[in-house]
C-alpha cells in the first residue's frame, strides 16, 4: 500500500489506539477481579482433579466440534462456489447467518425438535416400527449442536474466500481443461488452506467457551466445560479470584492450542489482478451438478429443519398479541440500538486494526517494534473469546462501583462487550476483502494522486462497502442473540429480546418464549438480508452500480 507519511502515521496510531483500548478494557476488568479475589483471601488450587477433568473434556469436545465443522463446511462451501446460480442460493447463504443470532437455548430447542426424543427423526423411526429412540444427549448432542452453529459460519467465510479467486484463474483452468480434482488441488485448496486455520481457531474458541449448550445437551456433569466453572465461581460462589484464575487457565490453554495451529499457517498470497469477477466455468457437468445438488440439499436440510422447527413452535404462539405488548417494543428498540452501536463500534475497531496491520506489513524494513505491534494487533481481536463476557462484566461492575450505581453504565458496557465479541468475526469478513481491494487499487490510486477523503470516497468506499455491510450485519446478529453481558446488569430499564425470551420461560410461559424466539430469528434474517443485499447474484451487477 502506498501512503503518504502522515497517512501512514495516522493508520499506525489508529491501530495502536484500538489495541490499547481493547487491552485496557480487558485488563482493567481482570485486574479489578484479581485484586478483589486477593482481598477476599480466595485460595484456588489449579491442580484439583475435577479441574483437570473438565479441562480435558473442554478441549476434547472443542477439537472434535472444530474438526467436524470444518470438514463438513469444505464440500458445502465448494458446492456453493461451483454453482453460482440456482434458485434459492442467496437464501441459503442468508439462512446460514441465522444460527449466529439465535440465543443458544433457542437453537438447542430447534435441534431437539428434529433430533430429540420427541423430534421428527424419532417419530419417523417409531413410525417404521423402531421403538428405541435415538438419543442425542451426551457428546454426540454437543457435537451436533456445535456443528449446527459453526459449520454455516465456516461455510460463509470459506465461500467468501472462494469467490475472491481472480477471474484469470478460471480462464486458465478452462483453457487447460482442468478436471474438478485438479481445480480443487491447484486453485481451491490453496485458497481454503490459507483460510482454514483462522476459521478453525475461531470455531475452536467458540466451542471451548460454550456453556449452555454443553450443559443442556451434554447430559450431566461428565460433560462440563471450564466456562461452567467460571460461571459458577462468579455467580454462585462469588469468588472473583477463582473466576479469574480459571479464566487465566482457559486463556493459557487456548493460546497453546492456537499457537500450535499458527505454526502451520500458510503464507497469504493475493495476486495482482484486473479485479474482474468472472463466473466460474467449471462444475457445470451433470455429475458435478448432481453431487453439488445432493450436498447442498443435505446442508439445507441439516440447517433448515431445526430452524423450521423454531418457526413451527413459534407460530403456535399468539404472535400478534406478543408484538403488540409494550414490553416487546421496549425490548426490540433496546436490542436494536445496542446491536447497531456494538456493530458500528466493531466495524470501526476492526477497520483500524486491519488498516494498521496492512500498513505495517507493506513496510519492508519494519522495526522490531512494528513487527510486534502487527502480531499484537492480530491477536487482540481474539482476546474476547478467551475472557468470558461475564468476567468482563463483573470486573467492570466492581471497577465502576465507586462511581455510583454501576447499572447506569450497563448499556455502554454491554455495547463494548458485544462489539468485542463480534471483533473476530468482523475482522475475518473485512480483512481478506480489504487485502484484495488494496492490492488491486493501491498503486493505481497512488499514481492518480488520490489521497485522504477523496480516495476514501471514490475508491475505498465503493470497493469495501459490501464487506463492511456484511460485517455489520454479522456483528449485529451476534449482539442481538447475546444474553451473557445483560444477565448481570439487568434491571427493568434494560430489557433485551433474548432476556424477554428467558424471562417468559422462567414463568411457565413457554409458548410466549417460542413466539419471541421466532421473532428474534426473523430479525436476524432481516439483518442478513440487509447485509447481503446485492451479493451473490451475478445479474445484480447493474443494480449494484445504481
Amino acid at each position: 500500500m502506498i501512503l503518504t507519511a502522515p497517512e501512514r502515521r495516522c493508520a499506525i496510531s489508529g491501530g495502536t489506539f484500538s489495541l490499547g483500548s481493547i487491552a485496557l478494557f480487558v485488563g482493567i476488568a481482570v485486574l479489578v477481579l484479581l485484586s478483589a479475589g486477593i482481598e477476599s483471601g480466595g485460595n484456588t488450587s489449579l491442580t484439583d482433579p475435577y479441574l483437570l477433568r473438565i479441562l480435558r473434556f473442554t478441549l476434547l469436545q472443542a477439537v472434535l466440534s472444530t474438526l467436524l465443522s470444518i470438514v463438513l463446511a469444505i464440500p458445502v462451501a465448494r458446492a456453493l462456489a461451483r454453482q453460482p446460480r440456482f434458485p434459492g442460493r442467496l437464501w441459503l447463504i442468508r439462512l446460514m447467518a441465522v444460527p449466529m443470532g439465535l440465543p443458544v437455548l433457542i437453537g438447542a430447542l430447534g435441534l431437539l425438535g428434529i433430533w430429540g426424543r420427541q423430534g421428527l427423526l424419532n417419530q419417523a423411526l417409531s413410525a417404521l416400527g423402531l421403538s428405541q429412540p435415538v438419543s442425542i444427549y451426551g457428546l454426540a448432542g454437543i457435537l451436533l449442536a456445535h456443528v449446527f452453529f459453526n459449520m454455516p459460519l465456516a461455510c460463509r467465510l470459506m465461500l467468501a474466500g472462494l469467490e475472491r479467486v481472480p477471474a484469470e484463474y478460471w480462464l486458465v483452468a478452462g483453457g487447460l481443461g482442468m478436471r474438478p480434482i485438479s481445480v480443487f488441488r491447484f486453485i481451491e485448496w490453496p485458497i481454503l488452506r490459507g483460510l482454514i486455520l483462522g476459521i478453525a481457531g475461531l470455531i475452536f474458541m467458540l466451542c471451548a467457551t460454550s456453556f449452555t449448550l454443553v450443559l443442556i445437551l451434554g447430559g450431566g456433569p461428565a460433560a462440563t466445560t471450564l466456562e461452567v466453572a467460571i460461571y459458577q465461581a462468579l455467580r454462585f460462589d462469588f469468588d472473583p479470584g477463582r473466576a479469574v484464575m480459571l479464566s487465566l487457565l482457559q486463556i493459557v490453554v487456548t493460546l497453546l492450542v492456537l499457537g500450535a495451529m499458527t505454526l502451520f499457517r500458510a503464507p497469504d498470497d493475493h495476486g495482482l489482478t484486473g479485479g474482474r469477477t468472472l463466473r466460474r466455468i467449471d462444475g457445470q457437468e451433470m455429475a458435478a451438478r448432481c453431487v453439488d445438488a445432493a450436498l447442498l440439499a443435505g446442508a439445507t436440510l441439516f440447517l433448515g429443519m431445526p430452524l423450521a422447527s423454531v418457526v413451527v413452535t413459534g407460530l403456535e404462539a399468539n404472535l400478534f398479541k406478543l408484538v403488540s405488548q409494550p414490553i416487546f417494543l421496549q425490548a426490540a428498540v433496546t436490542s436494536l440500538a445496542i446491536a447497531l452501536a456494538a456493530g458500528l463500534l466493531a466495524v470501526l475497531i476492526s477497520f483500524a486494526i486491519i488498516h494498521a496491520r496492512s500498513v505495517i506489513s507493506a513496510d519492508r524494513r519494519k522495526s522490531l517494534g512494528l513487527h510486534g505491534l502487527a502480531i499484537a494487533l492480530g491477536a487482540s481481536s481474539s482476546l474476547i473469546l478467551l475472557v468470558p463476557p461475564i468476567v468482563l462484566a463483573t470486573g467492570w461492575f466492581l471497577a465502576l462501583r465507586p462511581f455510583g450505581d454501576p447499572s447506569r453504565f450497563a448499556a455502554i458496557l454491554i455495547i463494548v462487550i458485544n462489539a468485542l465479541m463480534a471483533l473476530p468475526f468482523v475482522i475475518r469478513v473485512i480483512e481478506p476483502a480489504y487485502t484484495v481491494h488494496v492490492s488491486r487499487t493501491g498503486r493505481l490510486a497512488a499514481s492518480l494522486g488520490l489521497h485522504g477523503i477523496a480516495r476514501l470516497r471514490m475508491v475505498d468506499w465503493p470497493g469495501l462497502r459490501k464487506p463492511l455491510f456484511t460485517a455489520l450485519s454479522f456483528a449485529m446478529a451476534l449482539s442481538l442473540g447475546d444474553l451473557g453481558a445483560v444477565a448481570l446488569f439487568g434491571s427493568d430499564s434494560l430489557m433485551t429480546l433474548p432476556w424477554l425470551v428467558y424471562s417468559k420461560l422462567g414463568s411457565y410461559r413457554t409458548n410466549d418464549a417460542d413466539g419471541y424466539a421466532l421473532i428474534l430469528g426473523l430479525v436476524c434474517l432481516l439483518l442478513t438480508i440487509a447485509g447481503t443485499a446485492g451479493q451473490g447474484a451475478t445479474d445484480d451487477e447493474s443494480r449494484r452500480n445504481d
Binding site: Q232, P402, Y502, G506
Partner: protein, 330 residues
C-alpha cells in the same frame, strides 16, 4: 480507601434523592408484567404515600451476587427473593438488619424462624410428570432412584441453580451418608442436567422427558392458565424438601421505617392474596379469600425437609463435589 470514599459519596447522594422512594431488589419473574410486582406496587403505594421502585435481576442467586458486588454502596432498601439456602451467605455480607417484624403467626412448614429475614411464600420441590406418558408415577424418592431407567427425568444443576441445589439437599435429607450411591443409581434415569429451571421445564413441556424437577405448585399454573390436568406432581412418601422465599431490609437504608412497613405489608392479606396465582407459590399467611380450586388438588407433602441455612452453607461445596463424582463417572 477509594471504596469507602465512594460509599460515603454514594449514600449522601441517595439520601438526597430519597424523597420517599422505596427501592426493592428482586428477581425478574416477580416484576414481569404477569408477575406479582405491579399489583404489589399498586397496593403498597396506596397506603405508604411513597413510590416503589424495583430493580430486577435474573433470580435469587443473581440477587445475592449483585448485593455482594455492590457491597455497602447498594441502593436497595429491601431485598426480596432470596431463599433459605442463601440467607447464611447473605447475612455474612453484613448488609442486613433485623426485620423487627413479628413472624410468629406465619404458617411456614418446616418451622423456619429468623429475625432478619421474613418469609413471604414457599413451595415444595416435587417431581412433575406427564400423565399422558407415565401411568405409574414414582411414589417415593426410592421409586425414583430405583425405577425404570428408560423413563427419564430432567434435573437442574446444583452448581448453577436453586432447584438443583434443592434436589441435592432433598436426596441428602433422605439418604444421608448413602447419597452418593443413590445418585449413582439415579444417574441412568437422568436425561440431562440443565443450568436452570427454565431450560429444564421447557424440555419437559416439549416432551423430551416425561419428568422434571419443579414445585408442587407447578400443576396449579397448568390447571388455572392452560386449563389442563395433564401435568401433575408425584407425592413422595418420604416427604418433600421445601424452598422458602424471604425478604430482608438493608442496614444502611435511609428509608428504614418505610422498608419495615413494606416487610409488614408482605405478610398481610394485601400482599399474600397476590402471591398464589402470580408467583405460583404458597402463601405464608391467610389470604382474604380461599385459594382457587386448583390449589386444593395439589400434593400436600406428608413431611417437610428443611436444613438449617448454616448447615447448607457449611456443606454445600462438599455435597456438590460428592454429586459431581457420583454422577460423572462412566
Amino acid at each position: 480507601m477509594a471504596l469507602a470514599a465512594g460509599a460515603t459519596f454514594f449514600s449522601a447522594q441517595t439520601a438526597e434523592a430519597a424523597d420517599k422512594t422505596l427501592t426493592i431488589y428482586t428477581y425478574e419473574s416477580f416484576t414481569a408484567d404477569w408477575g406479582p410486582g405491579a399489583k404489589v406496587k399498586a397496593a403498597f403505594e396506596k397506603t405508604c404515600g411513597c413510590t416503589v421502585n424495583y430493580v430486577a435481576v435474573t433470580d435469587g442467586v443473581a440477587l445475592l451476587s449483585r448485593l455482594k458486588l455492590e457491597g455497602t454502596g447498594t441502593k436497595a432498601d429491601v431485598v426480596l427473593g432470596l431463599d433459605t439456602n442463601l440467607i447464611d451467605e447473605a447475612k455474612d455480607t453484613g448488609l442486613f438488619d433485623a426485620s423487627g417484624v413479628d413472624t410468629s403467626t406465619l404458617k411456614v412448614p418446616g418451622g423456619f424462624k429468623d429475625d432478619v429475614f421474613v418469609p413471604y411464600d414457599y413451595g415444595h420441590f416435587a417431581v412433575i410428570y406427564d400423565t399422558q406418558t407415565i401411568k405409574n408415577p414414582p411414589k417415593s424418592m426410592k421409586d425414583l432412584v430405583e425405577g425404570d431407567p428408560n423413563q427419564k427425568i430432567v434435573i437442574e444443576d446444583p452448581r448453577t441453580s436453586t432447584p438443583g441445589l434443592g434436589l441435592l439437599l432433598w436426596v441428602k435429607s433422605i439418604y444421608g451418608d448413602k447419597s452418593a450411591d443413590a445418585w449413582a443409581k439415579l444417574k441412568g434415569r437422568i436425561l440431562t442436567v440443565t443450568p436452570g429451571w427454565s431450560e429444564a421445564y421447557d424440555l419437559f413441556t416439549k416432551g423430551e422427558a416425561p419428568m422434571v424437577l419443579s414445585y408442587t405448585t407447578s400443576p396449579a399454573y397448568h390447571m388455572i392458565e392452560d386449563k389442563t390436568d395433564r401435568y401433575q406432581a408425584a407425592a413422595f412418601s418420604e416427604g418433600h424438601y421445601i424452598q422458602i422465599e424471604v425478604a430482608g431490609l438493608i442496614k444502611a437504608s435511609p428509608n428504614k421505617d418505610l422498608a419495615r412497613d413494606f416487610l409488614k405489608f408482605m405478610i398481610s392479606t394485601g400482599f399474600q392474596d397476590i402471591i398464589p396465582t402470580s408467583n405460583w407459590m404458597m402463601p405464608v399467611s391467610a389470604t382474604s379469600e380461599p385459594l382457587p380450586d386448583a390449589f386444593s388438588k395439589l400434593v400436600v407433602p406428608s413431611k417437610t425437609f428443611l436444613m438449617s441455612p448454616a448447615d447448607v452453607d457449611k456443606n454445600r461445596k462438599a455435597w456438590i463435589d460428592e454429586w459431581l463424582t457420583a454422577t460423572s463417572g462412566n
